[in-house]
């Protein structure tokens, strides 16, 4: 979570939010949240789990939209 916050604080075009999955179950269901942390970029589910900063930033600037 902190990586996402760091990115938002470093770049004006990036915003980051933690979302408590149990409090927003409909949204979590819509985004296919089965495990946490689940990373969603521009509303599109991307991947689960913690990754290195370099990988996190790369996936943020070039997300996969299938």
């Amino acid at each position: 979570m902190l990586l996402a916050y760091r990115c938002a604080l470093a770049a004006p075009l990036v915003s980051a939010a933690a979302i408590e999955a149990t409090e927003f179950p409909a949204l979590a269901d819509q985004k296919d949240v089965w495990a946490v942390p689940k990373i969603v970029v521009d509303g599109v589910p991307q991947y689960e789990g913690a990754v290195h900063e370099r990988v996190f930033v790369q996936r943020l600037v070039a997300p996969v939209f299938e």
Partner: protein, 142 residues
């Protein structure tokens, strides 16, 4: 009854003692969604209010403000973490409890830094973006 136990309170006080700039916590309250079964008895908004108030009481550079359904917020409760009172797009949706308390406190620490703690290559890549990017990280309290 307080949110933090005495040892946690001391830890939060230590973690937030050396912020380099003021950080405002804007707690947005409004209609809540129906949470999962078992979580219905929790007053999420009330607990979130106590939480931001307690953090502000522990950290001289942190202030807390509460608004009802402020513009730009769709889910409640939500906490906007604002360095120098400015909305830079850093939020926590829901009540940060359990281990997720560290995400909120860590976010406040990061917002209190003047220089980013990211690697220079990361900052360069992020600043090269030519479009807005929104990152949502789904978490759970355990």
């Amino acid at each position: 009854m307080t949110i933090f136990r005495p040892r946690e309170e001391e830890r939060v006080r230590e973690l937030l003692a050396d912020l380099e700039r003021p950080v405002e916590l804007l707690l947005a309250l409004g209609p809540e969604e129906t949470p999962l079964a078992g979580a219905r008895d929790i007053d999420f908004s009330g607990e979130a209010r106590r939480l931001v108030d307690e953090i502000a009481a522990l950290a001289p550079q942190v202030t807390a403000r509460i608004e009802q359904e402020p513009p730009g917020f769709e889910r409640f409760p939500a906490i906007s973490i604002r360095p120098d009172g400015e909305d830079v797009g850093v939020r926590y949706h829901g009540l940060p409890w359990g281990f997720e308390l560290s995400s909120l406190v860590g976010g406040i620490r990061e917002a209190g830094r003047v220089e980013s703690s990211l690697e220079p290559e990361s900052i360069e890549a992020l600043l090269a973006l030519d479009r807005p990017v929104t990152v949502d990280v789904f978490v759970t309290p355990t």
